[in-house]
Amino acid sequence: MNYFVLVGILIVVAGFALRLNPLLVVAVAAIATGLIAGKPLLAVVAAFGKAFNDSRIVTIIYILLPVIGLLERYGLQQRARTLIGGMRRATTGRLLVAYLLFRQVFASFGLTSVAGHAQTVRPLVAPMAEAAAEKQHPDIDEAGRERVKAMAAATDNVGNFFGEDIFLAVGSILLIVGFLGQNGIRVEPLQLSVYAIPTAVLAFLIHSARLLWMDRRLSSPSPSDGEGERPKGGGGVAGEAATTPLHQASPGPPTHVSHGEELS
């Protein structure tokens, strides 16, 4: 056995790690592997060309773009945002569970691009989740806010990844069809997408459980608070603003004093 053919794998790993253009990395890895296996250069180029041609099925997904683009011209994204904006925002966790379901269902119908970090998480989901968290836990600190916002982004990823594979015409499904076809095994895209369903359901259950757990932690007063049931809202903030200058009485530079006001 020729162990040096593994160099191709190393080239892919190193090339991706170095952030080189992935197409370049893949082509170099393919040609290096063929040469090491003892084939002449032109034969390797021909073999790669044949494999590329036989894998065209993977790239047919882009025939969907004119349809998606046309609908976007008439406000598809705005519509998706309206739907999300109308979600009930009783608690952070429940809001994000609803968004997770929305994201998974829409992705499974091939509508992955109606939502996303730039389209929906930053303008809508993260601020809505943050606002709900403030209601549940009025003296939430900066770290708490960060956790809520990060969880909003995480929820988008989980919903996207574990919804899209239920749709037939997605890159990963057709990559599997193409790869297995190259190796003499025929599978139907529909078979593959059916096998994506159990993982999609489990992803929903696991991530939802975490979101609802986060709700419980947000609603229960954190142990560091100590004061327990002091009046919420203005009273708490005023109290903190009053104590801050005292803490930093003599050594604190004046800029730190204003920190207390940022809370209100």
Partner: protein, 311 residues
Amino acid sequence: MIGLQPLYGLTGAVFAAFALLSVGDRTNRKRFGNAAFWGLIAISFFFGDLLGDLGNGFLVLALVALAGFGALGRGQPPTTSAEEKAESSRRRGNALFLPALVIPVTALLGTLFLKNSGWIEPKQVTLVSLGAGVLLALAVGYAWLRPPALAPLQEGRRLMDSVGWAAILPQMLAALGAVFALAGVGDVVGGIAGRILPEGSLFAAVAVYALGMAVFTMIMGNAFAAFPVMTGAVALPILIRGFHGDPAAICAIGMLAGFCGTLMTPMAANFNIVPAALLDLKDRNAVVKAQVATAIPLLACNVLLIYFLGF
């Protein structure tokens, strides 16, 4: 009988339109690069079977060169204003989602009812129905929305340009997997794995595949890149040929095991680092940290799913 050829023709026509419309787009400084890239893909879909293996090889190298030297830019086709979009969205409501739903519904119905009709090659019925669904959705869109004639292609080009050269990465990776197979990479890794794995332990082999998919995805930042490597090395020789598992279940869930890896790596910058920046998070790895506790139990579930559904 209708096979893949008409579908390839349709795809070629869409890419040819992207190429031609790119030429005339003066908003894109690199418009000829875009036109060449989409044009070569159109040629591949129209004439790939006539070019010969070496011809296809040079076509791929030309695509790689265009991408590698940064020859692609981003066009800004004419589109509606934000106000027009908002107004249309208000007026048309959730019905805007329906034309998009036509596509998967047609694909599903075609698969269920046209398989033995004699019109369509039974093995390709899903993808042929999908192509029909796209045409049907476009027809619905034209009839209902009455867009300018070229609008779907121009809007499609806008989306295509935003994908850029990454559009052919999955196809390139599938081809890489084929070259690996030709060179015997799978045999070598399979041989090593065979020596390490406990003799005849199916569960250990499944776990190595699923965890390997996740770990390789974490290293490369991309489940698509990990898939041909790990599947060629472990799934094909050991799970499918050795233990006679179901290739559809093993590969579909194996890919999802890779997605669990995507959730846990800063290398997947688009999903994990860019949103942290978009949300002004102080910790650039905050999104990864929020995802780990979902990814690990889900990965364990995927190991069990492959073990129980694949065999």
